[in-house]
Amino acid sequence: MILSRRRFLHRSAVASAALIGAPAILRHSASAADNPILLGALHDQSGPLAASGTPMVYALNLAVEEINAAGGLIGRPVKAIHYDTQSNIQMYSQYAQQLALKDKVAVVHGGITSASREAVRPTFDRFKVPYFYNVLYEGGVCDRNTFCTGTTPAQTVEKLVPSAMNKAGKKAYIIAADYNYGQITAKWMTKYVKDNGGEVLSIDFFPLDVTNFGPTISKIQAAKPDLILSALVGGNHTAFYRQWASAGMKSQIPIASTTFGLVNEPSTLDATESENILGAYGYFEELDTQASKTFVEKIKKAQPDTPYISELAAATYEGVHLWALGVQKAGSIDRMKLIEALESGISFDGPSGKVLIDKATHHATRNAFLAEVKGRKWSVLESYQDVQPLDTASVCDLVKNPNDTKQYVINL
């Protein structure tokens, strides 16, 4: 065959156009075939927060699998797009933009610390992507685009403080981590101690890199409290429990904590260091209900090396399912239809029991549990049914102010 120059040019132009166009055409036809609903997720799977983030990812994947096994949502499968935020707030901002603009996801679940939530929440507000924050936190977020499914202090601290005071006595000494979570939680502790007729002897805050608690332990002994309330956070702060035990104080003054055991402290600390510490959360792995056992079993089967499955994982699982119920009820992934469906009183029976979305606050009415460390495990002492997020409710009413996007600091 003789190729003229013109013919050669013509052919190669057609060929290269077809080559360049092929991926787009292929992708188009592929997405028409299964067309999944995209669920964005942001969790720390590396860095200091990885021990918290990893079980959350397992729980999220489990929920997505279950939804798909049940036939997907409105006839479409769900696909999770996950980014590891590496315990770095900058990564949160970056991946939030990517999820909203590049991946164009229908919903985002994620965020662990309050700082990370506040880094991504405005992005999802601006680009109108519904956002689920499935973590216990200090309360007060008031945003129609955001759903907070974890517990807040009115649901846990409110139960923890009086039962600890009943056991130990009226004089409390508060020790807390020095950032917004610790500061605000210390205020709540103070409020509930006073509400129950007690007295706060002192409040000490600790930067996250404090490792030597000797002076504090001496100070606590000099103050002679009946009870320690702890909101210490992170690996360095677990040193407190060891140094406390090694000074022989463990048997002298009991400890109640809003943070202890959220990761895996009971199983890594020695029994002498952790025995009888009180805690209150929206979920414990040791919960003796069928739903909880099945949940734990399924996660452990998929990921045998899962660290402790805490409220973080349970609330993430419940959050994804609540979103799925919302989509089904709305019959669409349209943002406003979904929000209205979720506001209509949707509830999901998860591992912690019934979780109901509260219309006015976009927080969850859910069960809370009080437990005590026994033999390096939590032993659940008491359950409280359908506890409302009263703290946030006192400052937030999305029915009256649907355009609110603030996090209120609750005045105590």
Binding site: P207, T211, G214, N236, R242, V263, N264, E273
Partner: protein
């Protein structure tokens, strides 16, 4: 009255742990002028060595006092051969390389052991002074600090090894002409510094929360202690850890732990401003 005794114990505890934490760095930095930013990770490795071997059934004292320093010493040897020996005299490069090294070690430990908190219970137990209670472990840390002072002093002053080490640090070219191989001395010194740091990590393991990133909490304080102490390895580190350790503990007791930290760092800034050569550069000249 009793409370002052307890406070004194806190101060001793602060001084002894700071001294133990900084000594290895002082050996490496003071003698070889290598800024080892992976110092915190050496501490972490010592702590992990203790925890892992104790959990595997080794006696905790053997784990702390033998396995931790030996293991980290060997790691130090390996690192010196593979990385540090190319960087003598290149201060900035050594900082960059050891910074990367610290990230690498954190990554490796996280991959193997996961990002969870590990620990061993504190041995010994507590005793009471009047109405107050304290831990025997505090006294043990003090004893270990004294033992380390004695060992370092003895080796450096009274053995041939110490003499060779000091001579090489002072004038490597002259030492070389006298038949000493400086490369070998550097290697030994770096490994010894790493081993001492590993020991500190092992000793602190029972009283800290052990995670792959725990080194970060110690490295800044160790550095200000070594820089504040100045060139003299032993007397400098000792005087600076006495100063900073007691300021930190007393500050934390009478104000809050937040100010306890602030006071130490402020004191360090003032000290470096007034004594750029460190405490030993001004007051303890010629000491070891």
């Amino acid at each position: 009255m009793d409370i002052y005794l307890i406070l004194l114990l806190d101060v001793i505890n602060g001084m002894a742990s700071l001294f133990l934490l900084s000594l290895g760095l002082a050996i490496i930095f003071g003698m070889m002028k290598i800024i080892n930013l992976a110092h915190g990770e050496f501490i972490m490795l010592g702590a992990y060595a203790t925890v892992i071997s104790t959990n595997a059934g080794v006696n905790i004292w053997i784990a702390m006092l033998l396995i931790a320093p030996l293991f980290v010493g060997l790691v130090g040897l390996l690192i010196e051969r593979c990385l540090i020996r190319f960087l003598y005299g290149r201060l900035v490069d050594s900082m960059l390389a050891t910074w990367g090294l610290s990230l690498l070690i954190i990554g490796i430990v996280t991959t193997i052991f996961g990002n969870t908190i590990q620990g061993v219970p504190t041995p010994l137990g507590g005793f009471s002074i009047g109405n107050y209670r304290s831990s025997y472990y505090t006294l043990f840390l003090l004893a270990m600090a004294l033992v380390m002072i004695a060992i370092v002093y003895g080796v450096m002053r009274h053995t041939r090894l110490g003499l060779i080490a000091r001579a090489t640090m002072q004038n490597p070219a002259m030492a070389n002409t006298l038949g000493i191989n400086p490369a070998r001395v550097y290697m030994g010194t770096f490994a010894a510094g790493a081993a001492v740091t590993g020991l500190a990590g092992g000793l602190l393991a029972p009283v800290s929360g052990i995670t792959p990133v725990m080194g970060g909490a110690y490295v800044a304080k160790a550095f200000i202690t070594v820089v504040g102490g100045g060139a003299a390895m032993l007397s400098g580190t000792l005087s600076a850890s006495t100063l900073f350790g007691s300021l930190n503990q007393i500050g934390a007791y009478f104000t809050t732990p937040v100010y306890g930290e602030v006071i130490v760092f402020t004191a360090a800034i003032i000290l470096i401003r007034l004594l750029p050569q460190g405490i030993s550069g001004r007051f303890l000249k010629g000491n070891l």
